[in-house]
Amino acid sequence: MKSAVTTPRAGARADDLGFDVERVRQDFPILTLKVNDKPLVFLDNAASSQMPQQVIDRYVRYRSREHANIHRAVHYLSEVATREYEAVRAKVRALINAREEREIVYTSGTTESINLVMHGYGRKFIGADDEVILSVLEHHSNIVPWQMLAQESGAHLRVVPCNDAGELDIDAYRSLFNARTRFVAVGHVSNALGTVNPVKEMVAIAHAHGVPILLDGAQAAPHLQVDVQDLDCDFYAFSGHKMCGPTGVGILYGKAERLRAMQPFKGGGDMILSVTFDRTVYADIPQKFEAGTPPIAEVIGLGAAIDYLNGIGLDAIKAHEDELLRYATDRVGELSGVRIIGRARSKAAVLSFEVDGVHPHDVGTLLNEDGVAVRTGHHCAQPVMQRFGVPATARASFAFYNTLREIDVLVGAIRKVQKVFAG
């Protein structure tokens, strides 16, 4: 292991905040697994993070003692389930500092949240020759819905480019606005590169043109303190499973007046006030967007995940993850024949890289031999890969339960890959 120069100052800040990674790791049963006889080093957190025992226990308690359908009956279990389910709205509201609980819509995930806005807002307010601004860094789930809208309505997509470091070009963004601009949808944090976009500034620019803006927060919510009132965004979307919660649940935050103006996305039970064959009167927000039986257990699990994250402290989480990213960037960056893709000044928890002469999939398969789980591929962000002229990258993505020692294992495993291919 190498020079003292790159040795971090032993996580000073996270420690100061009372953060103890070894204690935290004990909450995650999956972290004791062995893969190929090696301790699992899980560095694929941007795809889906792991669940602490507290969330698993909460989920099991609901399943074994509290389950019934919600909002529909006067019996004991339905009341318990409804209360626990609705209580999570308050936790989400507080987490992102929304003004009101009814601005929190439960969805199945970020993808559904964005599709909901496309259908509910886009199909109502965006028409032929109108323009929607996206960025080159978007995940496919913040591209394809808008492309579908463009195809059916005749609207056009305009794309904010980025520089070689993976930072959005804000001057170019500013110059994309014109009289036809109707909507902006951009990521808060890039899943492929880790870039933290200057979204507060981007919101202000959009609003100066009278244009509403959606932020895809799938990669931000797990790592940053999000304050939707401070950001002043119109919509904010994120997923439970990337923040220690279950799959199948996500959130759409929308300003009340925006949600009110939108048409419903799915029709069905639970989203109505009254139904006759002549006419249906929709429920108020957020129920207007929550047709059908929702993922009740998953919502309650998300509530437990939020409690868990708050218990550790979002500032401690950020401090530790920043330390991990700094250390990994130094250690991987000093390997000759390895190129880090995405050198933005402001980044969160993601390290995308290429090993000279070795395809990322071969890197991934060989890292797995050492128990190291990274994601390889285009990360559902093919325009980013095209921008950087690569078919794919290997991506290590960190969570607060990762350690500096695990990054050493990653670095050793990359060296082994180079050795195999050096022949």
Binding site: V144, H359, N368, E369, G377, G423
Partner: protein
């Protein structure tokens, strides 16, 4: 030895470094493009058929080591073969990669291609090994584009291209 270590051995690494029959074939009579959208393997196979035999074959593209080595060794083993023999090899290779054909049994024609048998234990990499054969099959039948995912393209072209994203 683990499946991966068994696979990343000298023969395959050598074909990855120095792919045989690399490059576009002049005067090809048949060709096809193969795409594995999951990992970005993207290859082109060119054929010149004469009298129902593979007179010449070439390939190029961008892919992982397993795909490239598989393509390289494929070109060596089908060159000079009759079309029906090539198709038999394609079928046998596919079955071996899926674990449905025992490479140590007799009665198949795979020969040195059995170095790829370990891929059956790496389910996420099976497609990488099969793609060249899939593409060969398409070329023989003149189907322009082979894909390991049907023709599902996750980002079908439309507004994005118009807007440009250089």
């Amino acid at each position: 030895m683990s499946a991966a270590n068994q696979l990343y051995q000298e023969v395959i690494l050598d074909h990855n470094r120095k792919p045989r029959n690399w490059g576009k074939l002049e005067h090809a009579s048949h060709h096809a493009e193969g795409l594995n959208p999951l990992c970005g393997d993207h290859i082109f196979v060119y054929l010149r058929l004469r009298d129902a035999s593979v007179e010449a074959i070439g390939f190029e593209g961008q892919s992982c080591a397993i795909c490239k080595a598989s393509a390289s060794m494929m070109t060596q083993s089908v060159k000079g073969k009759r079309v029906d023999e090539a198709e038999t090899l394609a079928r046998e290779f596919r079955e071996m990669a899926l674990g449905k054909l025992d490479p140590s049994a007799s009665g198949h024609h795979l020969g040195r291609l059995t170095v790829f048998s370990g891929v059956r234990d790496l389910p996420t990499r099976v497609k990488c090994a099969i793609l060249p054969w899939h593409t060969l099959h398409s070329a023989l039948h003149s189907i322009a584009r082979a894909s390991t995912e049907g023709d599902a393209d996750p980002v079908p072209g439309s507004g994005l291209e118009r807007a440009g994203h250089a």
